[in-house]
Structure formats: structure tokens, C-alpha cells
Symmetry: C2
Subunit: 393 residues, 2 copies
Amino acid sequence: MAFSGKMVIGQSGGPTVVINQSLVGAVLAAREQRAITGVLGARHGIAGIMREDFVDLSAHDSATLERVAATPAAALGSVRLKPGREECASVFEVFRKHDVRYFFYIGGNDSAETAHIIAQMASEADYDFCTVHIPKTIDNDLRVTDHCPGFASAARFVALAFMGDDRDNAALPGIKINVVMGRHAGFLTAASALARQQSGDGPHLIYLPERAFEMSRFVADVRRVYEELGRCVVAVSEGVADADGQPILTTGERDSHGNVQLSGTGALGDFLARHIKESFAGGKVRVRADTFGYLQRSFPTIVSEVDAREAREVGAFAVQHAVAQGVPGSVAIRRLGNTPYASEYFITPLSSVARKTRSMRDEWIADAGNDVTAGWLEYLRPLVGPLPRLGRL
Amino acid sequence: MAFSGKMVIGQSGGPTVVINQSLVGAVLAAREQRAITGVLGARHGIAGIMREDFVDLSAHDSATLERVAATPAAALGSVRLKPGREECASVFEVFRKHDVRYFFYIGGNDSAETAHIIAQMASEADYDFCTVHIPKTIDNDLRVTDHCPGFASAARFVALAFMGDDRDNAALPGIKINVVMGRHAGFLTAASALARQQSGDGPHLIYLPERAFEMSRFVADVRRVYEELGRCVVAVSEGVADADGQPILTTGERDSHGNVQLSGTGALGDFLARHIKESFAGGKVRVRADTFGYLQRSFPTIVSEVDAREAREVGAFAVQHAVAQGVPGSVAIRRLGNTPYASEYFITPLSSVARKTRSMRDEWIADAGNDVTAGWLEYLRPLVGPLPRLGRL
């Protein structure tokens, strides 16, 4: 028997272009559930819940919701807050006060952890309550699921950016370093490989945080490619680190999770470009660096169709599961096939997704540590969808 | 009477996403001209001509050409070379050797200057020859023409990027500085204003190279917006300079035209972000900077329809004019109306486009020097085309 009461939904962490698909998927599914007596959106996630800052989501018409679904970045507002037990307790108190029986949190592994703590509190208090984590991250670093909603659209942006930038570099040859998001996992940087359509196309080198980054090796790799092709396009993850796990360069600033700030600065790209330039002492070589920055995660219209559909469906699935089963968990995606691509959803325990993340499989990284494998592209291509075929003379 | 012989076409300067539309427009138009006995593409512009490095463009089928037209960045290769009289003389020698009677150069004001010098040489030598400059630049800084092919697509990228980034900033509030291309002219940075759809939307401040940039004023502006809205999104041109015309920050490197390197580095954005952060001494405020970099000029699929069509048509018009009139010049666009948008093409003397550039009209810049006016948006909107309407809760 489904218990009945209000639901709260919130969004957390870095935005994606499809995070609102999940929100709208959940809201529309909730309207079909009698057990859900009211739909509240939390402004800025957990922070908004503690302030009782809610938006009534029962009132919006479907035209508005569809526009919201297609709009990048968390429409409810997001938050970077990893609450401790005390904060979770005050969230739980707000839920009791408002007779909230269902909580859906769209986010990454920290959000799964938050949901997990609150679920435990409800269980200890013998309060009829179900919380389901809805996965979201451009980093693709959640465990259990085949891939994460939000990733494929960001990957599409990265692939298109490299396609264009490689043609730019072919037109005006030189060495170009592009820094891509991804603190610990190289999935998004690895997506740059989709830009290759013909032999000689860039990116010619791909550096991921999963492998130790050695400056001397990097310089040697770039020089080798440059000598062969007269140009070189490089994809570097913002999270590359040396053999001791020390970031190659950081600004020293930390975010509210205690993580070193890697995004929102061009410092790593500039540092690597300067290093390459100095290695060509006396030689005239054009070296440039771009840092893709926040554009990767919030650029309107660059959306993977599979990603948009799945992001919507995981939102709906979370609500349907919560009402039907009443068991907390995190929605995960199981891939059923690639030709044609098909997937299904299932629930995995919150503890299996919370805290730890995952990174690129070894089999997806080339032995030399500066490229990806065909297996990686096989995994990635159906998610990103068809890319334009470039013309050449 | 049209004189008959081969034609050479080349591409020069920074790539755009529609520069190949102009190439294909010219090539297809040339196939309809009996006077043109052969169509040669110069690899990397003037540099390729001096090396006699040509591609035969009569051989490509239309499917290939259409794919090339839709592909960003100069398909023939580009060059950053402002040739002197000696180099122009050797170009002219190559033309005589190959019986080249028509020369089309797709580029900015430096390319118009090159075409101008060669046209004078042909005239002095009494050699039947016509050269037409085909305008191209994301900077929109050519004189005479209403606007430049390549600009509107880059402007579309900038507008979309700010639309997404503003939603990102609203979801995770803070101060965000985005550095946009444009060395002397603020057109592209000013295009960020198209991202605004509702009151309170960013960019909240826009700094153009047409107005002296004062750091104290900048800090005060940002703090005022931040105090009012709790966040602030800023568009800054890479070319902002102080009252003496000194760039705010440069890496000290110069390109082959002797210009200070502004693109391909995140240094200006990082510098401004640091400055803002220091002004909030003790206060916790999230300040980030992104530098859009080369993505603005070569991102596949982000294309203005008007821009793609006009870029194609100026290429065709150049060829038709050259054969029909035999008089050198530069193709320019005259706007006929905004509702519906309509334009026509005409020829302006090469000397009117060569060397000097133009910048934003005074009436398009707000008196306070940190924003644009409604008149600017009226000019810009029809070129960029309809943008997605964002959804809000």
C-alpha cells in the first residue's frame, strides 16, 4: 500500500542541459499518482528545504513545463552543499512539518549520500517516507549506472567543439590545447575523440586524470605529433595530476566541498601552453590554449536526444518506483543494446551510489596513456547521437 | 566584354563557421561563367599562391561542396599574412604564369588591402584582370558594409552561451566574467545582450573596447549589481583597454601582424576575477571567469541562417560582378529592412575597405559605458535570428 502525502523535489550540484528534463519528468509523473497530494520544488536544493523555501509545482501548465525541460541549468536553483547529520535532521524536521512523504533529489554522488542519510532518519523514526535519488552529472562518474543523465549532452558539446576547433587548427596550423571539465574522471575529455572523422583529425592526444601526467612525456608527445602533421590538437582534463596525485596546477582555491577549484580559470591551459612554447626554444610555433569552462554544461540547443529522453524518463521512473515500492534507492540505467540503442531503468541502493565515484575503465584508455580505445567510442557513440559529417576539399 | 581565363580563390585570417559558404558560392557561380576557364583554390591564401599550391575546384561534386559549405573554418586553409609589395608582386607573377584573370580573396580588411595592391599591379601592367574581395570576419569591423558575413553566427554562439551561462549563474549564484573575442571592436561582446529575455537576466554589465576600461569603475559596477541581485554576469571584450589605449592585460606575445596576442589564453579573465575577488576582502563570494576562445568562431551547427545565406550569396555576387563588370572592389551588404529582414549586395572600392576598420556606433553604447542600447539590439536581432525562449518556474 502506497502511503500518501506531499513530495519535495530538489536539484543539486553543477547544472546540466537536461537536469530540468528530470525535474519535469518527475513532476508530470507525480500528477498521475493519487498518493502524492502536493508537489513542492525546493529552491537551491537542501539549502532551500532548510529555509522552507518551496515553489508549488502543481500550478504550472504543460507549455511552461516543456519550456523549462528544454532550458539548461537547474530551474529550481542548485546548491553545492554536502550536509552533515545535523543539517539532514533539520531537513527531515521540515519534511515532517509539511507532511512530506516523498523526496526526490536530482544530483551526483553527494546528493545520493544526502538522500541516504535522510532515508535512514525516516526509517529510524518509523516515518512513512521514501526518497529516491535521480542521477545527474556531466562527469559520468556515478557507480552502478551504465551512464549518467547530463553526460551525453556535455559530451556532444565537447565533440562538436573539437570538430570545429580541429578544422580551425588545420586552417591555421599550430599547437592547440583544450582543457575539458572532469575532476577525477576523464569521461568528458575522452568524448573529444568523437571529433575524429578522418585519419589525421584531432584531437591527436588525450590526457585523462586516470593516468599520471608527466610533463616531459607530454612535451615529447606534442612535439612528435607536430613534427609529423605540422600541427597538434590536444585534449587535457582539468583534473590531470602527477604520479603522486598532485594536480598539475591549481589556483589554490577550494569550493565548499573542500575540492580544489579547477573550473572557471584558464590557468592550467595557459601553463601547459607556456611549457610547450618554451620547449620550442627559438622556434616559431603558434601555441594556444582554450578552457571550455562552463559552456560545456549549460549551452542551450546542444543536447543529445538520447540524453534528453533518458533524463526525462529517470525522473518519471523515480516517482513511479517510490509510490509503487516505497523503497529508497537511486535510479540507474542498464544498456540493452547499441544497434539500435536501447536502455531500461532500475533501482540500486543509495549506498551503492553515495560517496565513491567511478572513473574510466582501463580497457577504454590506450596503453600509451595519451588516447582512448575503439571500445570507448563504441560505448559513447550511441549516447551522443549522430554528429554532422564535415566536408573536405 | 568579359575577359577570359582562370580564377583563383583564397581564404585568409581567422576562420568563421560560414567562410566556406562564400567559397562554395563563388565556385558554383564560376561554373556558370564561360569567361572562367578554370577554378583554382589557393591553399592557405597568399602563402599558397606564392608556392603555386593550388587545388582544382572544378572537380568536386555538389554533394561534397555542400558539405564543405556547412563545415566551419577555411576548407582551403587560411593564413595570417599581410603581404608587402614584393610579396604581392610574386603573387601577380604566379597569376600571369597560370593565365589567372580573376582573383577572389575571402577575408577581412588586410585581405582587401592585399587585393587592392594586386589590382593596382595588374592595372599598371595593363593585364586584363579583376580581383574582388569577399568580406568575412566575426569581428564585424569592415567599413561600408552593413555587417560582415561570419559575424552573425559568432554572435549567435555568444548569445546562446550567455543564455545558458546566465541560467547556470542563477542556479549557483556568484560573479561570472566571460571574455569575448574582439580586438578593437565590441560588436561580438555586445551580442551577449541578446541573451536577456526577462528583467534581471544577464549579462548585467558589458564592457567594450570602444570605451576606456577603468578597473575601479568595473569593480564598483560589479559590486552594485551583486548587492542588488546576489549575482552578476559580465561580458568583457578581450580588447578592453585603458584611457591611453593600453590593453588591461596581455601575455606580451605578438602575432605575425604585430598585434598583441589576446585570444588563446585565459589570462585577462583570470586577472579580472582575481581583482573582483580581492575587492570582497574577507567576504565569501564565488567569482569565476571563462574565456570563450576559438569556440566562438568555429563551433559546428551554431549558425545564423541569414549569415549562412548571405555568406553564400556574397561569394556568388563577387564572381558575377567580376565577370560582368571587370572592375575590382569589395562586396558589401546593404540592409533594406528589418520586418521582414531583407538585404542586397553592392560593390565598394577596395580602398574603402582596406586598412582601416570600424567599431561600434556611439548610439549603440549606453552612456554609462557598461551596456548597449535598444538600437543595437534592433540592428543585431534580425541577423542572429530567433533564439530559443527559456523556461522559468
